[in-house]
């Protein structure tokens, strides 16, 4: 049995004991349901509550279709609250092992730094990816019944592109968690950096090419238009390069024992 597999399994045991295996998918299912439900019932909600303050829905407003609602789930719910939830769930990924001495304990066993980091990123990505996908499919079900049907293949491509952005989020948070020691600092740096990347995406095609958050834009584009733009493959490749760089920085930091204070 390889140490990568053993460490991955250990991560899941810990997630189970910390109830993370339950709450994270539930949060994403809730986020997934929120966008279509709120969008659909907004006129009724405003009619019931907003009328007194003069807030009404323009009757001439174009009705959104299912694909647009799904795109809004990714862009509004997952890319804002979702990012914060993922970072908060992952901020201790390496930091907690450093703080309680587990990192030293594990690395004095027959384990390589590569399998330690690999096990962490793989197990957490797989789990977060499943949680996001659950939430996405909940959103799909509501969007399908409350709005309109959307091409299944577009939906699959969109979630694949989006999960590459999620992988970047995990790799980035892992790197920050490796370098910094306070959970508050890790959360702040990660959330602010990732939200800035998200805000910058869509401003300019060349910037999107270099920006991993461009993968989220690509996912929304597939949903809304059914096609991808010419920068997709370049964007994917560069996102993979960013992820590799993050992993290399984490590896360098741990193998060089730079987390030890002299």
């Amino acid at each position: 049995m390889t140490s990568f597999y053993i460490l991955t399994k250990k991560e899941y045991v810990q997630m189970f004991r910390e109830f993370k295996l339950i709450w994270l998918p539930l949060v994403f299912m809730f986020l997934g349901a929120t966008q279509p439900v709120v969008t659909y019932y907004l006129p009724s909600i405003l009619a019931a509550l907003g009328g007194n303050q003069g807030i009404t829905i323009d009757p001439a407003m174009t009705q959104q279709d299912g694909a647009q609602v799904m795109a809004a789930t990714l862009g509004s719910q997952f890319d804002q609250l979702g990012i914060m939830v993922i970072v908060i769930a992952m901020m201790g990924i390496i930091q907690s092992d450093k703080a309680n001495g587990m990192l030293d304990f594990i690395l004095t066993r027959p384990v390589t730094v590569g399998s330690y980091i690999g096990g962490k990123i793989f197990s957490n990505f797989l789990f977060v990816a499943l949680s996001v996908t659950f939430g996405y499919f909940v959103s799909f079900v509501y969007a399908h019944f409350l709005f309109s049907h959307m091409p299944f293949l577009d939906m699959i491509f969109a979630i694949i592109f989006y999960l590459l952005w999620v992988l970047f989020i995990i790799a980035f948070t892992t790197m920050v968690s490796t370098i910094f020691n306070g959970q508050g600092v890790i959360a702040l740096i990660s959330i602010v950096s990732l939200l800035v990347l998200k805000i910058l995406s869509g401003l300019h095609p060349i910037m999107d090419l270099l920006n991993p958050a461009g993968m989220s834009q690509q996912a929304m584009l597939v949903l809304i238009t059914g096609s991808v733009d010419s920068y997709l493959y370049g964007n994917m490749l560069i996102t993979f390069i960013w992820i590799a760089l993050m992993v290399m920085v984490s590896h360098y930091w741990i193998s060089g024992k730079k987390y030890h204070k002299d």
Binding site: R17, G101, M102, T108, P110, K257
Partner: protein, 233 residues
């Protein structure tokens, strides 16, 4: 078995290890003693790879740190401060560590659990364990894995008298099975009874490495240690 040559380590401009030389033979039970700040833990941390030393070489069973996984399989290290995942049971923890060493000796594990009287505690979360229980847990894992050498930093800390007796018996049977033990301690009277050799570290250098029978007779280990520290006893 364990060969340390000219080991040097500096921290913030202070030379902690100043050319440590140590050659531990197979079957030896070496007590590693020294005052606070003499460099015992730094030596152990250098051997186990927790820190990188500045100069010198370390080999265990012929394996150097360059052969990382092979090197790490040669020893089992028990640190002074035992860190565990607080919400995982003792059983889950032992199985996790055993798997890292490709060890699957359940019967052997059960025997040591019984010898350290840890049966009731094992299914409980390790967050409920006392300091001494965590030490026992680590000793159970180490003896179950049965590596070529056990390296321990103050293994007797927190152990009750029964467990100290069990520790002594297990160390002896482990060495009879072909193991080697290298541990630091401040408990000189116990070290005198368990160890076959003793090494005294002072100011980052080994100032004595001898068989216990050669140094204890007229002296006790305690009086010898005080003499080497230039302290009147």
């Amino acid at each position: 078995m364990l060969i340390i040559t000219n080991l040097k380590k500096e921290y913030s401009g202070k030379q902690i290890l100043n050319g440590v030389e140590l050659h531990i033979k197979k079957g030896e039970i070496l007590g590693f003693v020294g005052s606070n700040g003499a460099g015992k833990t730094t030596t152990l941390n250098s051997i186990t790879g927790i820190i990188e030393h500045d100069e010198g070489t370390i080999t265990i069973n012929g394996a150097s740190k360059l052969e990382l996984l092979h090197y790490k399989k040669q020893f089992f290290f028990i640190p002074d401060t035992i860190n565990v995942f607080k919400n995982i049971s003792g059983y889950d923890w032992i199985r996790f560590v055993m798997k890292l060493y490709d060890s699957d000796q359940t019967e052997r594990m059960k025997r040591f659990i019984s010898q350290f009287e840890m049966e009731e505690a094992m299914p409980k979360a390790m967050g409920t364990y006392s300091y001494g229980m965590l030490h026992k847990l680590m000793l159970i894992v180490g003896f179950t894995i049965n590596p070529p050498i056990m390296i321990m930093d103050e293994p007797l800390n927190g152990l009750d008298p029964n467990s100290v007796l069990t520790f002594k018996k297990l160390v002896k049977s482990y060495v009879e099975e072909g193991g080697t033990v290298f541990f630091s301690t401040h408990l000189l009277d116990i070290a005198e009874k368990i160890c076959t050799t003793v090494a005294i570290l002072k100011d980052g250098k080994i100032i004595l490495h001898e068989k216990i029978e050669n140094v204890v007779g007229e002296h006790t280990l305690e009086s010898l240690f005080m003499e080497k520290q230039n302290v009147e006893y």
